[in-house]
């Protein structure tokens, strides 16, 4: 069966967070060969990577602030720092007034901004966004892409996987086109 392009973007994304391994060749991130990492090194590596999903993947039973502080919490950051860091990034995405709301009370755009805040809370070197605007209307999509540009301007490498050619054109950044799992164009 011929794989869909959607599947390819997902798989390449999984490679980059070291969940799957390439069947051929090597994958280097920030000078590190992911194939040679040991389990604890993979955990360490993942702490420097932020991720954003098309379906946000927010935890419905936690508030906005808890969703964001969840990330530093599970890597052992002291409680006071967890909340301080979470509030800082929440403020940065402009949703500090919704800190006690639950994800299902928010709009799609707001949920994606929370997901971006969560991805930023560990101050990552690399931010991976898998179809981050897939569930949003064009205006909100552009808003999210602008937010990602700002993050990139702050020194974080941002990799966005998308099928939205119009959005790519509007953002106007380096584009790598994949077809059947192979790079066919770099512009």
């Amino acid at each position: 069966m011929k794989p869909t392009p959607r599947r390819y973007s997902w798989i390449s994304w999984r490679f980059r967070v070291a969940r799957f391994w390439p069947s051929e060749g090597e994958l280097f991130v920030n000078g590190q060969n992911l194939a040679t990492l040991k389990r604890h090194e993979i955990q360490e590596y993942r702490r420097g990577v932020g991720f954003i999903f098309q379906d946000f993947k927010l935890i419905r039973t936690r508030t906005v602030l808890e969703n964001i502080s969840f990330v530093p919490e599970v890597i052992g950051v002291p409680p006071a720092q967890q909340r301080r860091r979470a509030f800082q990034v929440l403020k940065w995405v402009g949703l500090q007034h919704r800190m006690n709301a639950y994800p299902l009370d928010l709009s799609g755009g707001e949920q994606q901004r929370i997901a971006i805040a969560r991805a930023l809370v560990n101050d990552p070197l690399l931010l991976l966004a898998d179809e981050p605007t897939g569930n949003l209307d064009p205006d909100l999509s552009l808003e999210i892409m602008n937010l990602l540009r700002e993050i990139n301007a702050g020194g974080t490498t941002v990799v966005v996987a998308t099928h939205d050619r119009e959005l790519i054109r509007l953002v106007g950044r380096r584009t790598v086109t994949l077809d059947q799992g192979r790079i066919v164009e770099v512009a």
């Binding site: 360490e44 993942r46 993947k57």
Partner: protein
């Protein structure tokens, strides 16, 4: 320490969220621990009784009716010089009859029909516990049995050995049953914890992606099992305590008579602590089995 604190908090929260299904796991642990606790209660009390009987060993040297006072004197000298006795008492034929009438009052009327006193005179000897254990008492009994004027010597220790052997059988059967029940309880805990794991799979995926250590990913599930096990074991201890109180209030006197005037006792704190620790270990094992599917 932070991982431990996180695991306990999350484990408790998960247990509370799934309190319906957790109740089954807690009951399963409690049942296994009740069986184990009841077994401990029985064997511990019987062991106490056996120890008391062993330390209070006695034998009786029955004299022939025609034994002379010189022969009796020689027997008593043999006993005194053996160094294995803690004391002796001469019971004459008359004393033996009186004792029978006193201890078996309902049969006392039978003795009035006797033409002669059928009870033999005897020397009752209390054996030192160390002499009973190292076999010197047995040696003395053999020498006394061969002494002139002795009709018989009763030093029946076999029944103690038989009780000890029966107790070992009960203990082995009870342990096998408790082990089976503990395994079933562990499987129940694992199933319940695993249900919680599926409910939290999105959270777990995020944890894995952000590089959470395994202790943070799996710890809460092990802690949940540990808490279920602990609660189940504490419930078992409470129920055992209540059952003990009820049994003692209803049949306490009969039971105490059965254990030779001693008192049937509840398990000491040390054994209760082992029981709770056992429940926690079973629960943790179930939690660990479930946690292997996370991360």
């Amino acid at each position: 320490m932070r991982a431990f604190d996180y695991a306990l908090r999350q484990g408790w929260a998960s247990l509370w969220r799934s309190r319906g299904s957790s109740t089954f796991a807690i009951i399963a642990i409690a049942l296994a621990m009740i069986v184990l606790g009841a077994l401990l209660l029985l064997t511990w009390n019987v062991e106490q009784l056996l120890a008391r009987w062993s330390s209070a060993a006695e034998f009786s040297v029955y004299l022939r009716d025609d034994a002379t006072s010189e022969q009796r004197g020689a027997i008593e000298s043999l006993i005194d010089q053996s160094g294995v006795t803690a004391g002796r008492e001469y019971v004459s034929k008359g004393d033996a009859l009186s004792r029978f009438r006193r201890e078996f009052a309902e049969l006392a009327s039978l003795t009035s029909g006797f033409e002669d006193n059928p009870f033999p005179a005897s020397v009752e000897v209390r054996v030192r516990a160390d002499a009973d254990a190292d076999g010197r008492a047995e040696e003395l009994v053999r020498r006394l049995a061969a002494a002139p004027g002795v009709a018989d010597v009763r030093y029946d220790r076999e029944w103690l050995a038989r009780i000890a052997s029966g107790l070992a059988t009960i203990r082995a059967a009870g342990l096998a049953l408790a082990t089976l029940m503990a395994i079933a309880a562990g499987v129940t805990v694992a199933t319940v914890v695993r249900l919680g794991l599926y409910a939290r799979r999105e959270e777990l995926e995020i944890m894995e992606l952000v590089g959470a250590p395994l202790t943070f990913i799996r710890g809460p599930f092990i802690a949940e099992g540990l808490l279920q096990g602990g609660l189940g074991a504490v419930l078992a201890v409470v129920l055992l305590g209540l059952a003990y109180a009820v049994v003692i209030s209803w049949w306490g006197q009969d039971l105490n008579a059965l254990v030779d005037g001693g008192a049937v006792q509840f398990l000491p704190p040390r054994l209760l602590a082992y029981l709770v620790a056992g429940g926690m270990a079973v629960g943790s094992a179930g939690g660990f089995a479930a946690a292997r599917h996370a991360g």
